[in-house]
């Protein structure tokens, strides 16, 4: 049998030691009438496969797919086609001492993992400007939902005499994130209010002011937002704090932190985000990880695992899990979250990737993306029949164009996977496309997308087709 090393002889010796005749006897607590029969067909699974057959099977499945490498690729929205360093794969996937270890509950034989988590937290601090962060959450969406819950707890604990149970989602927030927050709010009984984006693609500041009241506990904003537009975070912070509520910033493209003002500098209370862009493959959207950071005084309200520096008995530097009294295995129903297994290996990947980029590389990466995005925006803006939405607003790596709908397939046939049709995910009108740029996007890619689109628009105009 695959992966089982014991022989019949070994099994016999163990059964003899136990004093039973068969393994079946060890299952006597399961009523016989529902026990699956050895040779029955109650459980319909395939016959076991060896390495050759399973490889063949997976190859056959993969033949029914295409991926970013098959196209000039322009899709993002929280999952970005960045370069992943070979160093990241080699260390995270092929060093068994990272990938086959468990949560570092025993620090003496887990200093490797613990040190990397401490370094990961340090990098999160370097990126966000916040003093405390954790070992990671499932993804950006659930991290935002947990941050909203934490923001609610912070406000509710501070104003115990008031009923502050309203959550405000402000502006263009990723629909997958907003949907997750909605689910968590419904389950916990918090009231959810949404404030839309204005004509410039940013949070409608007046509407936000109107939505604010003493009932609001927490405001959540995405920046850069779902349309790629960079929000005026400082002014949103001011509006929220005037109302003595907490504000969460979620970031879908953490590479933007290479250049943009840090959430800590902008004054937000909690910053979370999707970490995929840093060192994690796209994998249909997971696994990657969520990052989570806040100010020092909030550390005991944070969800998730946290690692601290400490010493060993001989005074040497060592690392250990800390503040476990927040967590479910100690606090049970009073825990700050139920999270246990997280996305440790994905956070390790981000750490390796950040180190591989380094301070200079990360900065250059951000600058290259901005230059390429500006070039793409200008190139598309110059096409007859293409309108740049929110053209006056600043963007980092993504932007929205409005053009004729229904040209996607024709573009794909030319090897171009254009922007995400926003109509399909209820985030825009027919013909709105969200275009994402990374360092892997070449000028040639942009030019070919733009010229193919221009040609298609011209042809369809001449053909008189709608």
């Amino acid at each position: 049998m695959p992966f089982i090393q014991n022989t019949d002889e070994d099994r016999k010796a163990m059964l003899d030691a136990i004093g039973v005749a068969s393994i079946d006897e060890l299952y006597s607590d399961i009523p016989a009438d529902i026990r699956v029969k050895e040779d029955g067909d109650k459980i319909r699974l395939n016959p076991s496969m060896g390495e050759l057959e399973v490889t063949r099977h997976i190859d056959a499945l993969l033949k029914k797919t295409r991926n970013a490498n098959d196209f000039a690729f322009f899709r993002g929205a929280g999952i970005y086609n960045h370069h992943v360093s070979t160093l990241t794969d080699h260390i995270a996937l092929y060093d068994g001492n990272f990938i086959t270890a468990y949560t570092p509950y025993q620090p003496e034989c887990s200093q490797g993992t613990l040190t990397t988590v401490f370094e990961f937290q340090s990098c999160t601090t370097a990126l966000t400007g916040f003093e405390v962060s954790n070992a990671g959450m499932y993804d950006g969406a659930s991290a935002l939902a947990e941050a909203v819950m934490m923001g609610y707890r912070l406000t509710a604990d501070k104003f115990r005499k008031e009923t502050r149970e309203t959550v405000v989602l402000a502006g263009a927030i990723h629909p997958e994130y907003a949907g997750t927050v909605k689910t968590y709010c419904e389950t916990t009984g918090l009231k959810l209010v949404t404030v839309g984006a204005g004509p410039d693609g940013r949070v409608d500041a007046d509407a936000l002011k109107q939505a604010m009241s003493r009932e609001v506990a927490v405001v959540a904003v995405q920046s850069p937002n779902f349309f790629g537009v960079i929000e005026d975070v400082e002014s949103l912070v001011a509006t929220t704090h005037e109302n003595e509520a907490n504000i969460v910033q979620v970031i879908a493209e953490p590479v933007s932190l290479s250049l943009l003002q840090t959430p800590a500098e902008a004054g937000v209370d909690i910053c979370v985000g999707e970490g995929q862009a840093i060192g994690n493959h796209m994998f249909m959207g997971g696994p990657a990880f969520g990052f989570f950071a806040s100010r020092k005084e909030n550390v005991r309200k944070m969800p998730g695992r946290i690692v601290s520096e400490t010493t060993d008995r001989d005074g040497r530097r060592a690392f250990a899990l800390a503040l476990a009294t927040r967590e479910q295995h100690i606090r049970r129903e009073k825990a700050t979250s139920n999270i246990c297994t997280n996305q440790a290996l994905c956070a390790l990947r981000a750490l390796i990737q950040l180190a591989a980029w380094g301070k200079g590389g990360f900065l250059e990466l951000g600058k290259q993306i901005i230059s390429k995005t500006q070039y793409a925006r200008q190139t598309f803006g110059a096409i007859m029949g293409v309108e740049l939405l929110y053209a006056e607003s600043p963007v980092f790596n993504e932007f929205v164009i409005r053009t004729k709908a229904g040209l996607d397939k024709a573009l794909q046939a030319q090897g171009i996977m254009g922007g995400i049709p926003l109509e399909d995910i209820c985030m825009g009108e027919p013909g709105d496309y969200l275009i994402a740029i990374t360092e892997l996007t070449t000028k040639a890619d942009i030019d070919s997308y733009a010229s193919a689109l221009a040609d298609l628009l011209q042809t369809s105009d001449h053909g008189g087709k709608e």
Binding site: T187, E265, M284, L323, I370
Partner: protein, 499 residues
């Protein structure tokens, strides 16, 4: 603050950083370089570049290699960590996953371009339906606790639909349950009501009957339990719950004992989660990522998160978002897809026979350990156990003043990762520290025998030289770590990262 170690291999990455070093370089910019201030129309920029380290490639590789070698891992060590199922992670899982077909698959690709991925998810759902004996599966939850939350949300939505949500406010949870169970119930807005177990470790039926009622939304039961014991009265428990209209949730953390042996659906459960990183060998990765799919009976299926994977009449697959009763999204996209691929590869290799043999051999190994060590350590329930067995430090505590933690740390000196300690909690193990041992089916008898020998030696050391055990470990890169200070005076980042 401790001193920076002399050996560069011992330093943090920030401490080996030197301005000007780097690994990754980019191609020359192929578009005009813009002035960032102008391009971003004056939005505020960060006051200084992020203080990331600057390291050359060899030093980076060496840094992580030295760190990796400080870990114990399944690849290197016997790792009998109870309730975590630290089985072998086949190398083929990673190799097949690391192909562009997976690494470069974007969640917003057209459905026509991801048919092979949809088919894999559809097949995996089918496998899990078969193993659970339930009707429908969602693969979305990212981990066991996330599956619990999703399952309990479905229960809540079900009662909302029936107009009973205001009435059903409680979830019953055995006292020895994993901490995620009560935390989940609380997170979903329920009151977690604790059920004390009977003296033999099973559910106390009388206690259950007393606490169950019209206010009960459901019960979360782990089977086999966290005490490593199969619950013989599962069907009766299900009947009691159903008798008051409540739902039975099964925590499937311990499916490595019963997969292929019994379909939990036959017990009468309504919903359960799997931990694919335990039972189906997704590598634990130092704490994740895992995957926590849930399986439900038909009446709960309308509430599962969106999207669902659907097989169309023409044999193609698509995502179904049109589920009006859904609880909604519990995370982004389709789950930890990469982890699902690895579990699928594992399950495909096992097949029907392999799944059954997996459980049988896991249970065999754990019972063997119990019998071989029962004269040396107190067995909390010395009776047939499932895939894990719980010892306590009763003997060593009373006779030699040596405790569970000491024994666990001493195991490290023998090259074995400690078992799970102090879980279940002392209140569930007669006030003594628990030692929960789970060998898994992938270990050879020789490895298990070595563990047994080491445990016997440690029992003897507790008598002859208790100080040796109490000061362990003696062979690790660091000696016993001061975990208390880590919490009372937390230092959560390297000071070099923040201005």
């Amino acid at each position: 603050m401790t001193k920076i170690p002399e050996n560069p291999a011992e330093r943090l990455m920030f401490e080996i950083s030197k301005p000007g070093r780097r690994c990754v370089t980019f191609p020359a910019l192929d578009v005009p370089e813009v002035d960032v201030d102008v391009a971003l129309k004056g939005v505020k920029l960060r006051s200084e570049p992020a203080r990331l380290p600057e390291i050359g490639e060899l030093d980076l590789v060496r840094h992580f290699k030295n760190l990796a070698d400080k870990n114990y891992s399944v690849d290197k060590n016997f790792y009998p960590l109870g309730s975590c199922t630290m089985k072998y992670n086949p190398k083929i899982n990673v190799t097949l996953l690391a192909q562009p077909g997976y690494t470069k698959a974007h969640p917003y690709l057209p459905e026509a371009d991801v048919q092979g991925h949809l088919e894999l998810m559809y097949n995996l759902e089918h496998y899990l339906c078969e193993v659970s004996g339930l009707d429908e599966v969602t693969l979305q939850p990212a981990a066991g606790a996330h599956g619990e939350l999703t399952g309990v949300m479905c229960i809540k939505a079900y009662f909302e639909d029936k107009g009973e949500a205001d009435q059903r406010t409680e979830i019953l949870i055995p006292s020895a349950a994993h901490g995620t169970n009560p935390a989940t119930a609380a997170m979903a807005g329920f009151k977690a009501v604790t059920l004390k177990e009977a003296a033999n470790g099973n559910i106390d039926i009388e206690e259950l009957k007393k606490k169950v009622g019209p206010q009960t939304a459901g019960m979360m039961i782990t089977n086999p339990s966290t005490l490593g014991i199969l619950e013989p009265k599962m069907r009766e428990i299900a009947e009691i719950l159903h008798g008051v209209g409540a739902q039975l949730y099964m925590d499937g953390a311990n499916m490595n004992a019963i997969s292929g042996i019994v379909q939990p659906g036959d017990y009468g459960i309504d919903v359960m989660h799997f931990n694919l990183h335990k039972t189906f060998s997704v590598p634990h990765g130092g704490g994740g990522p895992g995957a926590g799919p849930i399986a439900v009976r038909k009446h709960l299926a309308p509430y599962l998160p969106t999207p669902r994977v659907k097989k169309n009449d023409d044999g193609s697959f698509s995502f179904d978002y049109n589920r009006p009763k859904t609880v909604g999204k519990v995370r982004s996209f389709f789950g930890n897809f990469g982890a699902l691929v690895m579990a699928y590869i594992y399950m495909t290799q096992l097949g029907r026979e392999g799944v059954r043999r997996m459980s049988q051999n896991a249970v065999l190994g754990a019972n063997y350990i119990r019998v071989m060590l029962r004269d040396y350590y107190h067995v909390h329930h010395d009776r047939t156990n499932a895939h894990e067995v719980v010892f306590t430090d009763l003997k060593q505590d009373k006779e030699n003043g040596v405790h569970t933690l000491d024994i666990a740390k001493r195991l490290i000196d023998y090259g074995i990762h400690p078992m799970t300690v102090y879980f279940p909690l002392p209140q569930n193990t007669g006030g003594q520290g628990a030692m929960m041992v789970e060998p898994t089916e992938t270990e050879s008898k020789e490895s298990i025998d070595y563990f047994i020998d080491c445990m016997k030696k440690i029992a003897q050391e507790c008598k002859d030289n208790p100080e040796l055990v109490k000061t362990a470990p003696h062979t690790t890169p660091v000696s016993k770590v001061d975990e208390k200070t880590a919490s009372t005076n937390p230092q959560l980042y390297c000071a070099m990262c923040l201005g």
